[in-house]
């Protein structure tokens, strides 16, 4: 390390940072291309990046693939929405009524560590392997991050704000909706963002284990068991899933930043 690097970090402009990211992505693609074309890695295992991307583009024009993708998207979105609709009110309840929290804590602590994929076979037996199967598992897995973040957010609510509202004669419900919910909102948003990633994992795993019907996981699974395996199709599918994951995450981060500027400003000052 030279003295130069130790001087206070010179802020790099967003434009520079984005161009660096793009350069990095291009270099990564070029590396794959090179490793594949020179035969350093078996071409059946790692097709050139251009072939993967080309396949990904072709797939978009393929009606079957679009059905697979839209089915997954549907399961993901419904599951995430249902999870939020359950977890936020539940979190508000548990976070604001200590008695209920204490009573249910042991159940929550018992259920949470169960790895959600372990429920895939059981849920398949109970409700079958259609869309409802995926939605059920996505809901179960996405509940926890939202629930825990909601409860965590409520813990940090400023008691003075609550007291002052109460002193004006507002009831507990009004206090919950006017003070607790808004100040827990940034945490809830974080919970939803984490849950979005978890939901994607569960959508794909449930589809792969079920191994039938429609879904991006089903598509990837069949490309894998085809003889010979169609690696370009697998990786093209993975490319779209990964891109979707990155975009959703980036979108939610940006939305959080915009919506909760006050929150981040406060944190920045304190830290």
């Amino acid at each position: 390390m030279s003295a130069e690097t130790l001087a206070p970090l010179r802020p790099v402009s967003p434009a520079t940072r984005w161009s660096r990211r793009a350069a990095g992505a291009l270099a990564f693609a070029a590396l794959i291309e090179l490793v594949s074309r020179t035969g350093l890695a078996d071409r059946e295992f790692l097709p050139p990046a251009t072939e993967i991307v080309w396949r990904a583009v072709i797939l978009v024009t393929d009606a079957d693939f679009r059905t697979h993708a839209l089915t997954s998207l549907l399961a993901w979105a419904i599951g995430l929405a249902v999870a939020a609709l359950i977890a936020v009110p539940l979190g508000l309840l548990l976070g604001s009524v200590p008695l209920i929290d204490a009573a249910t804590r042991s159940v929550v602590e018992f259920l949470r560590p169960i790895p959600s994929v372990a429920l895939i076979p059981l849920v398949a037996l109970v409700i079958g392997t259609g869309l409802q199967h995926r939605v059920a598992l996505v809901v179960y897995a996405s509940l926890w991050p939202i629930l825990y973040n909601t409860m965590y957010g409520l813990r940090g609510v400023d008691p003075v704000a609550k007291e002052s509202l109460r002193s004006y004669g507002f009831g507990p419900l009004a206090v919950l909706l006017r003070v607790s919910l808004p100040s827990a909102a940034p945490f809830i948003a974080t919970g939803v963002r984490l849950a979005a990633g978890v939901a994607l994992i569960l959508t794909v795993s449930t589809e792969i284990v079920a191994g039938r019907g429609e879904g991006i996981g089903v598509f990837i699974f069949f490309a894998g068991i085809a003889v010979p395996a169609r690696m370009d199709a697998i990786l093209a599918g993975v490319f779209w899933v990964g891109l979707f994951g990155v975009l959703v995450n980036a979108l939610l981060v940006a939305a959080e930043r915009r919506a909760f500027r006050w929150h981040h400003a406060q944190r920045g000052e304190a830290g």
Partner: protein, 256 residues
């Protein structure tokens, strides 16, 4: 010992919000001297200190220590940072914090511990060796930072507003500690402060900086009789006269 030649520093050069922190600053410090630098807050004192320590590369002029141009942090130099609580390592005990720099000193573990103990004793913290920084008050943390610098036995010690946020009593104790230390060890000390009284009480010489961009506007030798004493020195007529003079210099350039 230390020469500063026509030093300038611009933050964010070439951008619309470029800030000229230092411009055309000349200064030289003799070996064994205790120099106090006073200047209005935000004038560029910390920037000057960072340039001396080789932590930033000034945009103009040069700093020489014992004839060598400073490009990287020179050997045998210690810094007590203004933000002392963040310069201590929270994951190390007080003793380990003090002993850490001694790793470059060819000492074995026992010798390092001994040296750390001795330094902690000299700042009155012998009992806190096994504690962690967060368990100490601000003043105690500052004394740990000073002990760390002392244990290192530097030939040049730079102190950046070292008593900025301690209570009055501790502040006086620490001022006397600095005076006592330089009596025992052959050490050149540059102490930055915004407290005019402190600069006259502690220093052999007081240099006054202008407001930004900083340059030297006053350079006074301090001749005060006998060993300094918090009560009697401060009522000595020479002290009163000097602090008035320094005050005028600081104020004159702070309001212009």
């Amino acid at each position: 010992m230390l020469e500063i030649d026509n030093l300038s520093h611009v933050y964010g050069g070439g951008t619309p919000n470029a800030h000229h922190a230092i411009e055309g600053l000349n200064l030289s410090v003799a070996a064994g001297e205790l120099l106090c630098i006073v200047g209005p807050s935000g004038c560029g004192k910390s920037t000057l200190l960072r340039s001396i320590a080789g932590l930033i590369r000034p945009t103009g002029g040069q700093v020489r220590i014992e004839g060598q141009v400073v490009r990287q942090t020179p050997d045998n130099l210690a810094v007590v940072f203004q933000d002392y609580s963040r310069s201590l390592f929270p994951w190390m005990s007080v003793e380990d914090n003090v002993a850490l720099p001694l790793r470059r000193r060819n000492l074995d573990k026992r010798q390092r511990q001994e040296a750390a103990k001795e330094a902690l004793e000299s700042v009155g913290l012998a009992g806190a060796a096994r504690k962690y920084p967060f368990q100490l008050s601000g003043g105690m943390q500052q004394r740990v930072a000073i002990a760390r610098a002392l244990a290192y036995r530097p030939t040049l010690m730079l102190m950046d507003e070292p008593f900025g946020s301690v209570d009055a009593q501790t502040r006086e104790d620490l001022e006397d500690l600095v005076l006592q230390v330089r009596g025992h060890h052959q050490m050149t000390i540059v102490l930055i402060t915004h407290d005019i009284d402190e600069s006259v009480y502690v220093g052999d010489r007081v240099v006054v900086l202008s407001k930004a961009p900083a340059h030297v506007v006053g350079d006074l030798k301090v001749h005060l009789p006998g060993p300094r004493d918090q009560i009697s020195t401060r009522e000595h007529p020479d002290f009163v006269h000097l602090r008035a003079e320094v005050g005028r210099l600081v104020r004159g350039h702070a309001t212009v």
